[in-house]
């Protein structure tokens, strides 16, 4: 394996204290979910979607979250992705407590450390494939244009989308759009890619293609993957399965399935 990915991002997060909690990870601890809870509504109408979930994830780990529909797995992913704020508990990235940083700092953390892939591709129809993929780097505004261009082309190539960069995002097939969304999520070389039912809208061929890609990218870039799925057969293709039931983490198992080429 190559070197571990970079750790804490700079910029607005400079000066935020990070605790050393590397645990048993070969390449260091990436994420620590601590007693994460989320309640929607108030009073009698209150619904507890997540009831205090605690687990750790290492740099480069390839894991999945499984559970029935409404079990709270997407809520957990949104909290880990800093898209939503927990009612209680917190998520630490490289020891940085996301609950204690400012809103702009959370935005920077999302941009630099986390990549998202959702069931729907969420591409911007006003922009070309290249611009969609380059968008996270354009938002960060740190790289020179030439480097953004070459990195976007490289990422598109990694996903088998060579020659597509000039096309409008709307002109692609469903599978291609989802691969562009994956390329976009990987553009800033995040420490973790969070995927919520990423193949929910794809056929079997494209589903297999996407998971093979995830595995390959994980191996090549040491990006950690946390994939939410309700399909146990998909979860079994990952190295670790976290099972959520009624908002509780009921199982955390290392998968026995190991592809031959790992």
């Amino acid at each position: 394996m190559a070197d571990a990915p970079e750790t804490a991002p700079g910029g607005a997060l400079d000066g935020v204290s990070a605790s050393d909690d590397s645990g048993t990870c070969d390449f260091g601890m990436l994420l620590a979910a601590k007693n994460l809870a989320k309640t929607y509504g108030e009073g009698e109408a209150a619904t507890q979607a997540l009831r205090g979930v605690t687990f750790d994830l290492c740099n480069g780990e390839f894991a999945s979250i499984i559970g029935q529909s409404g079990s709270g797995k997407s809520t957990l992913l949104n909290l880990l992705g800093l898209l939503d704020t927990p009612t209680a508990g917190t998520a630490l990235y490289h020891g940085i407590d996301s609950a204690t940083i400012t809103k702009p700092a959370r935005a920077i953390m999302r941009n630099e450390m986390i990549g998202f892939v959702f069931q729907f591709h969420y591409l911007l129809p006003e922009f070309s494939v290249y611009e969609n993929v380059a968008m996270p780097a354009l938002i960060a505004g740190k790289l020179p244009t030439e480097e953004i261009r070459s990195r976007a082309e490289e990422t598109l190539g990694m996903l088998g989308l060579d020659g597509m960069s000039g096309k409008n995002a709307n002109a692609l097939s469903g599978g291609q759009k989802q691969r562009v969304a994956i390329a976009r999520a990987l553009m800033n070389r995040p420490a973790i890619l969070l995927a919520d039912e990423p193949t929910g809208n794809l056929d079997t061929t494209n589903t297999n293609l996407v998971y093979d890609l995830f595995r390959e990218i994980s191996r090549e870039t040491h990006t950690a993957f946390l994939i939410v799925t309700h399909d146990r057969s998909i979860a079994e293709r990952t190295d670790r399965i976290l099972e959520i039931t009624d908002g509780n983490l009921v199982a955390d198992v290392r998968n026995s399935y190991l592809p031959e080429d790992r």
Partner: protein, 379 residues
């Protein structure tokens, strides 16, 4: 800048809607410029008609029958004042005269002075309808209404009885029209020697020293400063003597500002509502951008840039449209010409842009408040 790029792309993706907003701003700004220019031109025309060919500040004796001595000290004050319109200082003497043609008779005020100096105030040479402008010995210029009423033409001789039992015969050299039938019917111009002889005054003694100003509305300040520097004389100015005209002009300006204000409010409401709709239409995209790490301020700037682009395009279009409307208006038989003041046009266009920017406050706030999870959860 990413926000600018996204703003431009959003506008381009809804080209029809963007064009409609720009046209809305353009119509508003064109109306603003057109209405404003009409009122400004109308007032300038009214002002020119009323005081353009009349003294705007006059130095007179405190006692009406006394002369004013145009001393070197007074000349120094008057000629060296930078607010005076060059060539418009006219020392004048006037006396009443009685005209009679055998059947009719009428009083006629004789204004005496040098033609060149009188031209500075009254522009007689430019406003001579027939004959020529000349005020030599025994020559007189009469007004259009007087000439028509008493059948006088250029070249005729008329007899006038002057005060003090004197009389004289004058040759009519020209007929003038100063735009006021009352003036044309009751006043006439003669050589300065005529009233001087009647009144028995010295060469430096006059009824009044009349002047015009570069900016007519400076008359109060000019009169005030001259009053303090020229003791023993009375300085009168047109604003003090035309209170009702001034009140009319002020009321006209107020109504113009009100119309322009309502036009701007209508433009602002139009832009604000359309931008608010655009913000709602782009909620999904903004949410996705925020999920990728776009900060609230940068997201808000997207709509600020959109408003700025629409404001600039709309205002520029509005200025062009106002030119077209004024060109059309100039074809109509209006009694006055409308001229566009470049400063007023520039200010109107700037107001259009500022109004557009202010109109973006609502969508900016809505965008800043948008939580990306709302978009992700709701698809």
């Amino acid at each position: 800048m990413l926000s600018l790029r996204v703003a431009w792309r959003f506008l381009r993706s809804s080209a029809g809607q963007s064009a409609l907003i720009a046209c809305g701003i353009a119509v508003g700004i064109a109306t603003q410029i057109f209405v404003g220019s009409i009122i400004i031109s109308l007032q300038a025309n009214l002002l020119d008609t009323t005081i353009g060919s009349a003294p705007q500040v006059s130095i007179e004796a405190i006692k009406e029958s006394d002369p004013v001595r145009f001393t070197p000290a007074m000349k120094d004050v008057v000629y060296n004042d930078p607010r005076i319109k060059p060539g418009t200082v006219a020392p004048v003497r006037s006396v009443p005269a009685l005209f009679s043609n055998g059947t009719d008779s009428a009083t006629l005020g004789l204004i005496g002075g040098e033609l060149k100096e009188l031209d500075g105030i009254y522009k007689i040479s430019d406003k001579t309808l027939s004959g020529k402008a000349s005020l030599g010995n025994g020559e007189i210029m009469v007004g259009k209404e007087f000439a028509e009423k008493y059948g006088v033409s250029a070249g005729d001789s008329i007899a006038l009885a002057l005060t003090g039992g004197q009389s004289g015969t004058f040759t009519v050299t020209g007929i003038f029209d100063l735009g006021s039938s009352q003036f044309n019917g009751r006043q006439a111009f003669v050589s300065g020697k005529v009233p001087q002889n009647v009144l028995g005054w010295a060469n430096d003694e006059f009824q009044a020293i009349d002047v015009q100003l570069i900016q007519p509305y400076d008359s109060k300040d000019v009169a005030s400063s001259w009053s303090s520097r020229l003791p023993g004389v009375s300085v009168v100015e047109w604003q003090g003597q035309n209170a009702s005209l001034l009140a009319g002009l002020v009321a006209q300006s107020a109504s113009s500002y009100m119309i322009q204000g309502f036009v701007l409010v209508a433009v602002a409401l139009g832009i604000a509502s359309t931008l608010a709709i655009a913000a709602v239409q782009k909620t999904r995209q903004i949410g996705i951008l925020k999920a990728m790490g776009l900060e609230d301020k940068a997201a808000g700037r997207i709509f600020l840039f959109q408003a700025a682009m629409l404001g600039v395009a709309g205002s520029a279009l509005g200025v062009l449209l106002s030119f077209a409307i004024l060109a059309l208006f100039s074809l109509s038989p209006a009694p006055f010409t409308i001229s566009m003041d470049p400063t007023f046009v520039a200010v109107s266009a700037a107001i259009g842009i500022v109004v557009a920017l202010l109109s973006s406050i609502i969508p900016i706030r809505a965008t800043s408040k948008l939580d990306p999870i709302e978009v992700i959860q709701n698809g």
